[in-house]
C-alpha cells in the first residue's frame, strides 16, 4: 500500500477516535450513571446495556484503535529495522497478524457477550 494511503488511514482513524474515545471514556464518569465510583460504572448491567445499544460504535472504535495503534508502533519498529529488508518484512507481517488477532478478540467480546443471568 502507498505510504500516503496508510498515512490517510492513520489520520482518519485518529479523527474517529477523538470522537469515539471521548464518548467511551466519558461513559465511565460515575456521575452520569449515578453511582459512587469507577468500578460501579462497569457493572454487568451498564456494560450489557451499552453493548446492546451501541455495538456498531464499539466495533468501529476497536477497529480504529487497533489499526491506529499497531500502525503507529509499526512505524517506530520500521525505523529501528532500518534497511534490513527481512526485518522490515517481519514487522509488516506481524503488524497485520496483530491487527487481525486483536480485532477477532474484540469481535468475540461483543458477539459472545453472555445474556445477563
Amino acid at each position: 500500500m502507498k505510504a500516503g494511503t496508510i498515512a490517510l488511514i492513520q489520520y482518519v482513524t485518529a479523527i474517529l477516535m477523538i470522537l469515539l474515545v471521548s464518548w467511551h471514556v466519558a461513559d465511565r464518569i460515575p456521575w452520569l450513571h449515578g453511582v459512587e465510583n469507577l468500578p460501579s460504572t462497569m457493572s454487568p448491567e451498564i456494560i450489557y446495556d451499552e453493548v446492546e445499544r451501541f455495538w456498531p460504535l464499539l466495533i468501529l472504535l476497536s477497529i480504529a484503535v487497533v489499526i491506529h495503534g499497531v500502525n503507529g508502533l509499526r512505524g517506530m519498529l520500521l525505523e529501528w529495522a532500518g534497511s534490513n529488508e527481512r526485518l522490515r518484512f517481519a514487522v509488516n507481517i506481524l503488524s497485520i497478524l496483530a491487527i487481525i488477532a486483536l480485532l477477532l478478540v474484540a469481535i468475540h467480546t461483543i458477539v459472545g457477550l453472555p445474556e445477563l443471568g
Binding site: M17, I29, N37, P39, M42, V65, P114
Partner: protein, 155 residues
C-alpha cells in the same frame, strides 16, 4: 574509490533521539518534548489497548462473575489501578496532542505563513499558534489527568 583500509564511524544517535529529547540541546523547541511524549504515550497505549481488548473479553470468555471480580481490582490504590491511571494519562495527552498534530500535519494550520527572514529569526512554524497549543495541551492534560486520578483513586 575508497579503499577498505580506513574505518569511518557512524555518528547516528539512533532510537534514543526519539525517546530522550535532551540528547541534543532543545532550548526553544518544546515541539521536541511533545514529539517524544507523543511517541512514549503511543507505545504505552498500544500495550494498554492490547490488554484492554483481552480483558474486556472476560464476560464472553468466562462469564459475568469473572468480569465483576476483574473490575473490582480497579478500586483502591494497587498495581492495576496505578497502571490504569498511567494509561489514562497517556491517553489524555496522546489525544489532546493528537488534535494539535491533526491541525498541523493534516491541515498545515498553526504554522504561520512563509516569510522572509528578519531578526530575531524565528521560523514561522515555531511562532504559529501551534506553539500556544502545546502549552494548552500540557496544562489541559495535567488538569484532566488529575480529575481522572480523583475518580480512580479517591471516589
Amino acid at each position: 574509490m575508497e579503499r577498505g583500509k580506513f574505518r569511518f564511524a557512524s555518528n547516528r544517535l539512533g532510537v534514543m533521539a526519539s525517546f530522550y529529547p535532551w540528547i541534543i540541546d532543545i532550548k526553544g523547541n518544546p515541539e521536541r518534548v511533545a514529539f517524544t511524549l507523543h511517541r512514549l504515550t503511543g507505545v504505552i497505549l498500544v500495550g494498554f489497548i492490547a490488554l484492554h481488548i483481552v480483558s474486556t473479553n472476560t464476560p464472553a470468555r468466562a462469564g459475568w462473575e469473572a468480569w465483576v471480580e476483574e473490575v473490582q481490582r480497579l478500586s483502591g490504590v494497587n498495581l492495576v489501578s496505578i497502571l490504569f491511571f498511567i494509561a489514562m494519562g497517556a491517553l489524555v495527552f496522546h489525544s489532546l496532542n493528537g488534535i494539535r498534530l491533526l491541525l498541523v500535519e493534516l491541515l498545515a494550520l498553526g504554522i504561520g505563513r512563509p516569510e522572509k527572514p528578519k531578526p530575531p529569526y524565528i521560523p514561522p512554524s515555531l511562532k504559529g499558534y501551534q506553539r500556544t497549543l502545546i502549552y494548552v495541551v500540557f496544562i489541559l492534560s495535567l488538569v484532566i489527568w488529575a480529575l481522572m486520578g480523583y475518580v480512580i483513586f479517591l471516589m
